[in-house]
Structure formats: C-alpha cells, structure tokens
C-alpha cells in the first residue's frame, strides 16, 4: 500500500466514525437505538437489507466459489436469495411490520409463546456472535495475508506476528465506536456506504478482468462449459462442479436454506422493521433484490477470471506481496500454504490445494494500480466491518428486548434499556473477539457457517410458514417442531459423510449410512431433512394440542388479518410490480447463463 491507498482508507474510516458521531444526538429512546426510530426510507432500508448480508462470507467466499465451481455459484443468488426476498416482502412483511414486534423472536412470542421466543432468541444471539467473530477473523486474516501493515510494523520495530491481533483489535474498536454511538441507524448508513464502495471498487475489476480474458466468450473458451453454465449438468451430481443434483439444489438451497435465512433471520428483517411505513417495509427486500440479482457479476465473475488467467506469479512492485516466493497455483490463485511448515498443502490425492479465498484479493493486486487498489481494499474492509456491525446491532437488540427485558430485568425504564443496548454492544464485540480466535482454528469459513446455519436455521422457516399461514399452529407445536428439526439436522449430519472427507466435523460421527458426492450436497440434504421434520412434527403436535385463541392472532396470521392497504403510489413502485420485475429479470439471467 502506498500513500494514496492509505489516504483513501483513512477517508473511509473518518466518514464511518463521523456518521456515528453525527447520529449520537438522535439516540434518545431505545426505539431510536434498536430500530432507527422506525424512520428509514425504503431505498436506504433496501440497500441495507442486501448489504447486511454482504460480509466476509459473501465477497471473499463467493469469489472463492466462483473460482472453484464457476458461474453455477450464482445459484446462491438467483435461486438462493431472490425468490425468498420476494416472498418475505410480499407475504411476510405485513405480519412482521404490522404486529409492531421489535424483533423476530418477539414476533414468535406474540404468535406462539414464551418458550419458542426464548429458544429462537438464545440460538440467534449465539449465532450472531459467531458470525461477527468470523467476519473479524476474515478481516485480520486478509490484512495479514496481503501484508497491509507489514511496512508500518517494520518501521515501528514491532513483531509482525502481532499483525493478526492488531487487525482484530482495530476492526473491533471501529465497529464498537460507530454502533455504540449510533445504534442501528449507524449500522444501516454504513451498510449503504459499503454498498456503493463495493460497486465502486469491484465494477472496474470485473471490467478490466473481462476485457483481459476476451469478454464472456473468451472466458467460455478458456474455461470450458463446466465453469460457464449454471443449470446444464445438474441432472446428476457427477456432471457438474457443485456435486449436487437439481432437486437437492432447488429444495435445499432454493427453498429451505434461502427462505430460512431471508425470511426469518433477524439480521436482515431488522432492516425492514426499521423502515418508515408498512409499504416501505414491504418494498425493502424487493428493492434489495435488484442489486442482489446483479451482484454475481461483481463478486463471482472475478473468481472465474482469476482461475482463467495464465498462471504467472509476477508481482507488481508496489504490492510487496511475497506470493513470488510461493509455488505457482492456477490462474492467479496461489496454492494453499501450511503456515507452520511453509510447504504447500496437499489433498488426499497428493495434489496441491489452491487457496481459493485469495481469488478476489489476488485480482485486486493483479489489476489495480495505487489509488484504485486503495479503493478496492477499502471496499473489502468496509464489507467485513459492516457485516460485523450488522450482527452486533442484531445481537444487542435481541439481547436487550428478548433476553434481558424478558428474563433478567422486566419493567425497567426505557433509558435503562437504552443503556443496556450500549452495554450489550460492548460485550457482544468482546465475545466476537473470542469467536474470531476460535474461527482461527478452522479453515473453510463458508462450510462452517453453513453447518451451523443448517442445524439452527433450516427448521425455522417451517415454523414461520405454519405460524403465519395456518391459524391452528400452536406454541407447543412450534417449540417441539423446532427442537425436532434441529435434532434431525444433527442426526442426519452424524449419519452421512461427503466423498473424500474424514469422520468428524464433516459428518459421520454417529455411523456412516450414506455417502454424498460433495459437502454441498450433504448440507442441502441436512437442511431438507431438518425442514421436513419440523414441518411434520409441528402439524402433528398442533392437532393434538389445544387450538390457540383466534382473537389474539389478529395481525399475526394471514387468514385473520385484513389485507394491508396500499398507499397511493406510481404503479411501478408498488410491491407487486417490483416483485414481477425482479422475478422476470432473474428468470432471464438464468436462461442466459443456462
């Protein structure tokens, strides 16, 4: 990094902290702090809805998957996000926003009972800490790998082994300051800044990369059809790079995992709950879906380009990366090197493994001169930090409203809960730091996230679907169903093993009854089993327990709630019109990249 790159990074930090300071004065009630005063315009909430998810997992992980699996990675967007975003906006938001629940667990208390809320609140709180820790770990790892601080540390005579710790500390402090001061508003505003920074930093990267490899047709010629088709070859796991068949993909990813995340995860739903009106809340996920639909071109394509480029360890002099000392990888992606021995890591066939997580950072270093390099790295860091802030703000809300106010200290003043929210921000970040050091022990960030996600989140959508659309669903049933679903996920994972994996964290820890062709296939099927178990158990238990009192379910269940009145607005801005446009666009993209 040269002077101009530092200047750009410094400018971004100044704005981030400045926004926190500017918002400090508006934080008068707990609603201001936790729900941004329910005053956020639809387009801001929509961009935040999408960007809250755009953390480490997305930018580095999707580039890595692009290099590994090709354009089929876009399934994580086109069927793994868009349909669920449309569904939550059109059909679920009337109940989330209309019930005036302050969080997703609180909706569960209103609709079901205290124990269902408690289960969801506690598991969610743990998951957010974990995710925020993973983001922090990813920032620190990236800073370490790209040798961002090495020059500074050398000049100050400090030991370079502290860089990882220093990077954790600095990102924690920055996120702490701006979320402590400005709460959810601060997080949302920074998510919007981050969105535009990612576009600003990555659009020229995709442009230069595509120009270099001869456009999409050049990419197709270099990589071959297995990298450049998203649906062709999905009839059998052996004929596509993902190692899944279409049914597992559509049901596991497109239905269970995707709806479980976008329709029930408070991290994203909180952005819509902060919107200024019902119609703004409904449009929030729909507006977010438009950029979401196009993001594969920004985050996945660079991964494909990285693997398509001729293998060359040439390092631009200003980048000062020691990639040159390492063995060549494929394209511009280096090999995975064992940190302790300095030797390349081998897979079970004795072939060296590629460090796919470096696909996107390698692209930045390859194409960007000083100046743009600073912008690109700033965009990466911004996405990590706002991913972390998103988790921290969701954590402090659920902790304060659903755990502290419900079980530890009910009936205190609003000032007290505002104070508690700020305190929760501090210890939430402290716990995230602990999680970051834990994450340091695991290698593939995305696989681990998906595993935890499948156990806890996969059954959730069955509970919400039944809760919102079948008035007979009871609290006991919801609770039992969730536990059964999570148990089913764990048992399925314990009984199956992906091809080539070792018994343990990858599965098979009970007994091996089935081998999946890939880890992704196992994840998708774990989710399908969890969802189905929860769905069936919830229905059965509902039918044998006492029906809930219908008068208490008005505003919470579809058949007992009057249809939301449409505010007068132009036809193209209405939720239904936006939904049709985004679905049409997604179908078109699927056909083009079939």
């Amino acid at each position: 990094m040269t002077g101009i790159d530092w200047l750009i990074l410094g400018l971004y930090f100044a704005f981030v902290l400045g926004i926190g300071v500017a918002l400090k004065g508006s934080m008068k009630t707990s609603t201001d702090f936790f729900l941004a005063g329910r005053a956020i315009p639809a387009w801001v909430a929509g961009l935040a809805f999408m960007s809250a998810n755009l953390g480490a997992q997305e930018v580095i992980g999707m580039g890595a998957s692009g290099a590994k699996y090709g354009i089929a990675t876009s399934h994580f967007y086109w069927i793994g996000a868009i349909p669920a975003m449309v569904f939550v906006g059109l059909f679920m938001m009337p109940f989330y926003y209309g019930s005036r629940a302050r969080s997703v667990p609180e909706y569960l208390r209103l609709r079901f009972d205290e124990k269902t809320r408690g289960l969801n609140a506690i598991s969610f709180a743990i998951m957010t800490i974990f995710s925020s820790g993973i983001s922090m770990y990813a920032i620190a790892k990236l800073i370490q790998t790209l040798h961002v601080f090495d020059g500074v540390f050398q000049r100050l005579g400090l030991n370079s082994s502290w860089i990882f710790d220093f990077a954790i500390l600095i990102s924690a402090i920055v996120v702490l300051i701006y979320t402590f001061l400005g709460g959810l508003s601060s997080a949302i505003y920074n998510e919007v800044l981050q969105f535009f920074l990612i576009v600003a930093g990555f659009l020229p990267l995709t442009y230069l990369g595509l120009k270099n490899v001869g456009g999409w047709s050049g990419l197709k010629a270099t990589l071959g059809p297995s990298y450049t088709h998203s649906w062709a070859g999905l009839s059998h796991p052996d004929t596509n790079r993902l190692g899944v068949e279409w049914f597992g993909l559509v049901m596991g990813l497109g239905f269970v995992l995707s709806f479980g995340y976008w329709c029930t995860d408070f991290l994203v739903i909180q952005r819509a709950m902060a919107a200024k009106s019902m119609s703004a809340a409904r449009r929030t996920p729909l507006i977010g879906a438009f950029p979401k639909m196009l993001f594969p071109f920004l985050v996945i394509l660079p991964g494909l380009i990285a693997i398509a480029l001729p293998t060359q360890p040439a390092v631009p002099p200003h980048a000062r990366v020691i990639v040159a000392a390492e063995p060549p990888g494929k394209g511009i992606i280096p090999m995975k090197v064992d940190a302790s021995s300095g030797k390349p890591m081998l897979d079970k066939d004795g072939k060296p493994q590629l460090d796919y997580d470096l696909a996107v950072p390698s692209m930045l270093l390859h194409y960007f001169p000083p100046g743009m390099l600073g912008l690109g790295l700033t965009a990466l860091l911004a996405s990590f930090m706002s991913g972390m802030a998103g988790n921290v703000t969701a954590f402090n809300t659920v902790w304060t409203y659903d755990i502290y106010q419900s079980y530890i200290r009910p009936g205190a003043t609003d000032e007290h809960y505002l104070w508690m929210g700020r305190t929760a921000t501090v210890f939430g970040i402290a716990l995230s730091i602990a999680a970051a050091y834990m994450a340091n022990r695991f290698n593939n960030i995305m696989d681990m996230l998906q595993l935890v996600f499948a156990f806890v989140n996969a059954p959730l959508f069955a509970t919400f679907l039944l809760g919102m659309f079948w008035k007979r669903t009871t609290g006991h049933a919801a609770f039992t169903g969730l536990l059964a679903g999570t148990a089913a996920a764990a048992i399925h994972h314990g009984l199956t093993l992906p091809a080539g994996a070792v018994v343990g964290i990858k599965g098979g820890w009970l007994a091996i009854t089935h081998n999946y062709p890939s880890e992704m296939a196992q994840n998708f099927w774990t989710a399908i089993y969890a969802w189905t178990t929860c769905f069936i158990v919830t229905i059965i238990v509902s039918l044998i327990t006492r029906a809930p009192d219908e008068t208490k379910l008005v505003g919470l269940v579809y058949s007992l709630t009057p249809k939301p009145e449409e505010e007068p607005m132009a036809w193209y801005a209405r939720p239904a019109s936006l939904a049709i446009m985004v679905i049409a666009g997604t179908v078109l993209l699927n056909i083009i990249f079939w």
């Binding site: 400018l11 230069l208 194409y367 743009m372």
Partner: protein, 83 residues
Amino acid sequence: MGIDIRLPLGLLFLLLGAILLVYGALGDPSLYQQSLGINVNLYWGVVLFAFGGLMFALSRRSVRAATTVRADSTPPSPRSSGH
C-alpha cells in the same frame, strides 16, 4: 431520522473521486501497465466524482424543499404509519 444519508455519501464520493482523478491525471503513466494501459484512476475518479456530486445535489435539494414547505407554513402531510 438524524441525517440524510445522501449527504455523507455524496461528500465521500466527491472526495474519493477527486483524489483518484487528480492522482490519475498527475501520476506516473507507467503505473497503468497492469490495468491494461487504461488510466483507471482518472476515468473511474471522474465517474465517482460525478456520482458524489449527484448525491450531494439530491440531498441539498431535499433540504431546500423542506425549507420551502416550512416557509409556506403548510404543515408537512402526516405519513401513514402503515396500519
């Protein structure tokens, strides 16, 4: 609430754009060999500067609109809270 996000967004991109385009215009042209001979700093700096300017102008316009409404002593129409 608080602030109009377009104001800080506009200012940030005006500054980022200005830094990149000045650096691109005055810097060493040999830097751009790695970006396929394209002076990305200059061209993209111009684009970001224009975007920043647009966002800044939009935020100023809405401030002016709000002031005019107040000057006319017309109370701003209460927005439906949605339910």
